[in-house]
């Protein structure tokens, strides 16, 4: 391989390190004006008056829009029927909800004008807990009630299996809301014209286009969405980009001027989607030898005020609640619920971190009860090729879970203290001078395993379209409707095209995502960019390759099968010295009339499952992983130092090693944040910590020394055998932290985040755990 598996630079890296890359907030257009949103300020209520008079009088204010100014349906959402207004009309359902939009000459004036709007909202008693939402006499937040979706997964007969089980463990686990915390807050810039152009920090440009067009009351083809360089998304810039994108376009249409809306950090936290909080009741039955025979799970997801991605998160939790294990009898019920809080949606992991925490905590509890080695119980029950998983799906290949367990076991045996960040064993970090230990510290080790389905699975059609175009000079342009968000996908696609066509990576460009010029490929989610997206690039490149081989065949006077493309040449397989430079072949192909551009589709197999039992084939592939974490806990302060962290993942095939490690590092720290540091604090339905001072996003000093161990069990449905890896480490890292702390402290914590406060309380013999 020339580029696959090689250490390469990001193809878009130079513009990022020089500051030249244009993020949505960097665009400047003549006459551009700024929008800022007035938010409800109360978690539930009926809007009786929106007094904009004072706001309109402020010098520099151009327009104040409310719900009645929306030309289209004033609704967005993910799954129809859409339930989320762009601007609230009669009712507000969460404190961060948008009620009015001010457009002004400067952002500062727009914000001042927002302060000058006075809202008269008759407060309604807010529903702030899931139990409150499910109470029989509960007020309905939405017309159809307070349940977004409730579904079951049924496999085998859990009742019978629990009766046979020799050991049973039960527990209830909870997780908190988490904020995406991308460094770039949500930003859009709408430019009116014969056709509308919206520059957006986003991950689902076609989804935005559809909603913008509908709400503007124009055909979708008259709207162009350009994905600006996006400063992180992790699932957070789906809904919100659609919301502010639509609002900006509507304002731009009315004023006939470009409109920028850039969220402040506070708005990003309280006005845009969060990770679902969860409560998970889980019961597992096993035989004395450790074989798992039954699992039953009831999951409640707090989805906040609007549906967003809740139905899909619900379904994903159903499928993943059994963990990466062979369990013959599984019953899961998962329900997402409305409450009067900030709505919850897609966030890297998408329900899997929540259930993995519960599942892996319980596996450890079982191991403890059975006095069994924690890796051994995972090994004994781990999924393998040819064996059915919780939905009854069987994969004949690429089920690398057991190998990830072995690699973790090996590393454990050779454990030394690693220097964070380098993945190599070097001198230990210098310790800050501490008083003599005297039992001050507790030490613990944790393990966790995870399986995460790759790509959309049951969430709907899973298609991507990619185009590959070769120029006469042999350089290549790739186009695809999926978005680079920092995860390195653009580089992976370029590598695939470069490998297939035998040209240097430096000659491959990946175009900006512009809905005019690329095929609707659905959202960039679910770790699908490499697998499904990469396959589309692979196919499109292969078609172009066929043209070159056909042309080279004419030039060599032989069959195309006898030629390969490598190192910038078309080379005769049986005579390495017989070679023609690819640019020469490409030019000849043009003049001869062979197509040098191709659009190809990659479609994941349709999910095919029974709706009542969720049994059937769902995912194109799964990524499997096992983590190990060693921690040191300060008894007196509860401070935790992660001494080492290994993350072994079966990724099918490593296309970009640096990119993969970066993804595992970032995802692991995000899981660590979920498990230890980050907590959205609500009081009476209002978020109390919508800033980076009081919401503890990890700093560089909080980083964990993650070491990525890549396992390659090739996936026949991915390009060169690859599978996505962006999400699974979040779940495994959160779960492994909880298990390591339980080991160190001797107490099982059942709520995330496990904070220093919780640890100190537990050590005092308080009522935690």
């Amino acid at each position: 391989m020339s580029t696959i598996g090689k250490q390469v630079r990001k193809v878009d890296g130079v513009e990022l390190v020089t500051g030249r890359a244009k993020f949505a907030g960097d665009y400047r257009f003549p006459g551009m004006v700024y929008g800022s949103v007035k938010r409800a300020g109360v978690p539930a209520g009926r809007v009786s008056e929106i007094d904009i008079e004072k706001a309109q009088q402020i010098h520099g204010v151009l327009r104040v829009l409310t719900a009645k100014d929306i030309p289209g349906p004033n609704l967005i959402g993910v799954l129809p029927p859409f339930d989320q207004p762009l601007l609230a009309a009669d009712e507000v359902r969460y404190a961060g909800e948008s009620v009015a939009l001010v457009i002004a000459e400067t952002a500062e004036v727009a914000r001042r004008a927002v302060e000058a709007i006075s809202l008269t909202i008759e407060p309604i008693e807010p529903i702030l807990t899931m139990d409150g939402a499910l109470a029989p006499d509960a007020r309905k937040i939405h017309e159809n009630g307070n349940i977004t979706l409730s579904k079951k997964l049924i496999k085998g007969d859990v009742e019978a299996a629990f009766r046979e089980a020799e050991v049973i463990v039960e527990g209830t686990y909870e997780t908190s809301f988490q904020d995406h915390g991308y460094l770039e807050p949500e930003t859009v810039c709408a430019v009116p014209g014969r056709r509308f152009t919206l520059y957006a920090s986003c991950q689902s440009p076609f989804h935005i286009r559809g909603h913008v067009a509908a709400n503007l009351g124009v055909p979708a083809s008259s709207v162009k969405v350009v994905q600006a360089c996006t400063g992180g998304s992790f699932g957070g810039k789906d809904d919100v980009a659609t919301e502010i994108g639509s609002l900006a376009c509507i304002a731009a249409q009315q004023l006939n001027r470009p409109v920028m809306i850039a969220h402040e950090r506070k708005e990003s936290i309280l006005g845009s989607n969060l990770r679902h909080a969860a409560r998970i009741e889980i019961k597992t039955g096993a035989m004395k030898d450790g074989t798992l025979v039954a699992r039953s799970v009831r999951i409640l997801l707090d989805g906040g005020a609007y549906a967003s991605e809740s139905p899909f998160v619900t379904m994903k939790t159903l499928i993943h609640a059994a963990g990466p294990y062979v369990i013959e009898n599984v019953e899961v019920q998962s329900t997402s619920v409305f409450t009067n809080k900030t709505y919850c949606g897609a966030f890297r992991g998408f329900g899997v971190p929540q259930v993995t925490f519960a599942s892996e905590s319980q596996i450890d509890e079982l191991a403890k009860k059975l006095k069994m080695d924690r890796l051994e119980i995972r090994r004994l029950n781990g999924l393998k090729a040819g064996v059915a998983n919780a939905t009854g799906q069987i994969y004949e290949q690429s089920v690398g879970l057991l190998e990830t367990i072995e690699r973790i076991a090996e590393r454990g045996a050779a454990q030394g203290t690693t220097a964070p960040g380098s993945g190599q064993t070097t001198e230990p970090r210098p310790e800050s001078p501490e008083p003599a230990d005297r039992g001050r510290y507790l030490y613990g080790t944790g393990y966790a395993s995870v399986a995460q389905g790759i790509s959309n699975g049951a969430e709907g059609v899973d298609v991507t379209g990619a185009s590959v175009q070769m120029s006469q000079d042999g350089s290549v342009l790739v186009g695809i409707g999926l978005t680079e968000l920092g995860q390195g996908s653009r580089t992976v696609w370029a590598q695939i095209a470069s490998e297939v066509l035998g040209v240097a990576l430096e000659t491959v460009s990946v175009r900006l995502v512009d809905t005019d010029a690329v095929h609707d490929s659905g959202p960039t989610v679910a770790s699908r960019s490499t697998t499904v997206g990469g396959m589309a690039v692979y196919k499109a490149a292969t078609e172009v390759k066929q043209s070159l081989l056909s042309m080279a065949g004419l030039m060599f006077e032989t069959e195309p099968e006898n030629i390969e493309l490598r190192d910038g040449f078309a080379i005769l397989k049986m005579d390495d010295s017989a070679r023609i430079p690819i640019p020469t072949v490409a030019t000849a192909a043009y003049w001869t009339g062979f197509p040098l551009m191709n659009l190809a589709f990659s479609k994941a197999p349709d999910a095919n499952f029974d709706d009542a039992t969720h049994q059937g084939d769902i995912y194109i592939a799964y990524n499997y992983g096992t983590h190990r974490m060693d921690v040191r806990v300060d008894r007196m302060t509860g401070e935790v130092t992660v001494l080492s962290h290994q993350a072994a993942h079966d990724v099918g095939r490593v296309i970009n090693p640096l990119g993969l490690e970066g993804q595992v590092d970032g995802a692991s720290l995000m899981g660590f944040g979920l498990a230890h540091m980050e907590k959205i604090r609500y009081a009476d339905g209002i978020i109390q910590n919508p800033n980076f001072a009081d919401y503890a996003l990890p700093s560089i000093k909080d980083r964990i020394p993650t070491e990525t161990i890549a396992v390659e069990d090739p996936n026949p449905t991915g390009p060169f055998g690859a599978k996505g890896a962006g999400e699974p480490p979040v779940a495994a890292s959160a779960a492994v932290f909880a298990n390591a702390i339980a080991d160190a402290v001797g107490v099982r914590f059942t709520k995330l985040p496990i904070t220093r406060e919780d640890i100190v309380e537990a050590l005092k013999g308080g009522n935690r755990g």
């Binding site: 302060e115 001078p433 501490e434 008083p435 300060d634 007196m636 302060t637 509860g638 401070e639 540091m677 604090r681 109390q688 910590n689 001072a693 009081d694 503890a696 996003l697 990890p698 700093s699 560089i700 000093k701 909080d702 220093r756 406060e757 100190v760 309380e761 005092k764």
Partner: protein, 292 residues
């Protein structure tokens, strides 16, 4: 808004007298308040560039040797100064981030008077006094009296903080500062503590202990200080201090932490500070002529 840039301290206090504007040192707190809409001053008087208000020197006043810190000395400069006691350097180092420390000033940290201000607890233990200047003249206020409530001080609207003066102890002084926040980098203190004492022949004297973020103002723990006064260094242990620490503090639950946790951690941090001082003193005693 008017931005005034006086070229001397006299001019500054004169402008302040007539305009009662907002005094700007580094701006790291002021800019946040303005961005949040907490204050919108009509006049800003920038004193951050005045050389007379910057620098750290050893000086004498009424035959007492003291360290004099200009109020507009940046927090980074304070953290790096070899002349200053360890606890003050460590406290300064704990403020915010490198970016905040390069712009923010110790005078700003003092006048902002947040109960969790990381330079405040060390200053209390160093018997610091604050030299205040107005058009009418100069006065000095002891740090122990200066802070009157959360973000409230005895500084009058027509006064600027000119110097912070720390009397040089006439003995071998060791000191330490510890804090804990909601993350390891760029964290606001949930609790902080500073301690220091003189050591002579294994006996401690002039014990000073202060804690922050566990009361409306940073606090000296005087009962604890008195109980440790004159004791041997090896008598300093957790049992000796625990009750007295808890007695002196009134922590609350807030968005940053809980009262219970603050109680537990204050004991830990005070203990760590005292042990750090003890270790330094023991090491210094073992090496002739070592400076603390």
């Amino acid at each position: 808004m008017e931005y005034l840039r006086p070229s001397s301290v006299d001019e500054a206090v004169g402008l302040l007298d007539s305009s009662r504007g907002m005094v700007l040192a580094g701006g790291t707190d002021a800019c946040v308040y303005m961005a949040e809409g907490i204050c919108s001053p009509e006049t800003i008087i920038d004193i951050g560039h005045l050389d007379a208000l910057r620098g750290i020197e050893i000086a004498s006043s009424e035959r007492v040797e003291l360290i004099r810190i200009g109020a507009c000395t940046t927090i980074a400069e304070v953290a790096a100064s070899p002349v200053l006691p360890a606890s003050l350097r460590q406290g300064a180092q704990a403020v915010g981030s490198p970016q905040i420390r390069n712009l923010g000033t110790i005078g700003g940290n003092v006048c902002n008077a947040s109960p969790c201000g990381d330079t405040l607890t060390p200053l209390l233990t160093l018997d610091a006094s604050f030299v205040l200047r107005s058009a009418q003249g100069t006065r000095a206020v002891q740090s122990r009296e200066f802070f009157t409530g959360p973000k409230q001080t005895l500084l009058q609207p027509d006064e600027i903080l000119k110097f912070i003066e720390i009397p040089l102890p006439a003995c071998t002084w060791t000191s330490a500062f510890r804090m804990i926040g909601n993350r390891k980098g760029q964290a606001i203190s949930q609790v902080n503590a500073a301690a220091g004492f003189c050591i002579n022949d294994g006996v401690v004297s002039k014990v000073r202990v202060a804690v922050g973020s566990v009361a409306p103002v940073p606090l000296r723990l005087e009962a604890l200080e008195q109980s440790l006064e004159g004791r041997g260094i090896d008598e300093i242990n957790l049992e000796a201090i625990q009750e007295l620490v808890l007695e002196g503090i009134r922590p609350i639950d807030d968005v940053r932490s809980t009262a219970t946790y603050r109680q537990d951690v204050t004991v830990a941090l005070v203990f760590d500070c005292l042990m750090a001082c003890a270790n330094q003193a023991t090491e210094a005693a073992g090496i002739e002529g070592a400076s603390s």
